[in-house]
Assembly symmetry: C2
Homo-oligomer: 197 residues x 2
């Protein structure tokens, strides 16, 4: 027995940790500037690492984007939990959706990656995206119990509608200017009971 568990891999080297952090930081900035189809070579250059280093830390482009998204999912899940504790049902839901959509604007082009995680159980994001959606679904349920949202809507419906509006609002300035209006049209609509017949 040496004090180090032989099963657990030893701690990464200091330079590896530093490089990983640099790459993530640069990737976040570059994606915010150029969108999700930004050049990985460009990211490696600006992070001042070789291409091989980038690939050692993130085995594929998707893995790098996923690392960017995970933070956001975890943040939104936590935010939902806090709102559930602190705010009345309808207000909590509205505030959370606002946070969801406003954040999405900074992740240009990542909406596609986000949607892909829903069905891809092998994705390392599958779990954290699911946790975020579950947290949102709880806010939705509370709002439905309070009669603020029609009952035939579930968490995935809500996620899809809000994701769809976030995406379209990122497409072109004329529509971006209507983001809030489009959002309101949807939420107003969901507040009414389903039509009978």
């Amino acid at each position: 027995m040496t004090g180090t568990d032989p099963v657990r891999p030893r701690a990464p080297r200091a330079d590896a940790l530093r490089n990983r952090a640099r790459i993530l930081e640069v990737a976040r900035a570059v994606v915010e500037e150029q969108g999700a189809q930004a050049s990985l070579r460009d990211i490696a250059r600006r992070a001042e690492v070789g291409m091989g280093t980038l690939y050692r830390h993130f085995a594929t482009r998707e893995e790098l984007l996923e690392a960017l998204l995970r933070r956001r999912f975890d943040h939104l899940a936590g935010h939902a939990a806090a709102l559930e504790a602190d705010r009345p049902p309808a207000e909590a839901l509205a505030e959370w959706l606002r946070a969801f959509t406003s954040g999405t604007a900074a992740y240009r082009g990542l909406a596609t990656s986000m949607m892909a995680t829903i069905d891809d159980e092998s994705s390392p994001l599958h779990a954290s995206c699911g946790a975020m959606r579950a947290a949102g679904a709880r806010l939705l349920r509370r709002a439905q119990d309070a009669g603020a949202v029609r009952p035939d809507v579930d968490g995935l419906d809500l996620f899809a509608l809000v994701g769809a509006v976030s995406w379209i609002a990122d497409q072109t300035p004329t529509i971006a200017a209507r983001r809030d209006h489009l959002f309101a049209l949807i939420m107003d609509g969901l507040a009414h009971p389903a039509p009978t017949g």
Copy 2:
């Protein structure tokens, strides 16, 4: 005077016409299979033309995609006009939106190009996309006059919402399965008057 107007360019050669048609036909099939990011080399290969020929007819990738979309825009504009003449307001609008969304599924990834034409006046699609939206807007107006849709929605709002749902439904199978439900949620919502308060 020779009988040919010197200003008007002469008719294209027969091989040029044939190649253009082949490229378009192949591009349509390939985009349907692989989406809008399909390889142009692949399209040229399958159309059995050189890369230069593809570029002679479509000076950029965007131009080729636009040629595919234009047909669709023109078709939808005509369809709207026919429905306006033949059907009661609410039914005409619903049927047109159904045609719009169901067709979009075959144009995987082209939604982004479609949205881009709204603000880009230099795009050759700007006009035909605008004409299609105008035709849809007339159906919307009729439905609003009949009291079937809340009045604070315009043609661009409707286009954005329907485009957004079409896009999201193309992203992943789980959501694709809910396409009709999501669509119904939005249209139900638009049927109610704006909330006062």
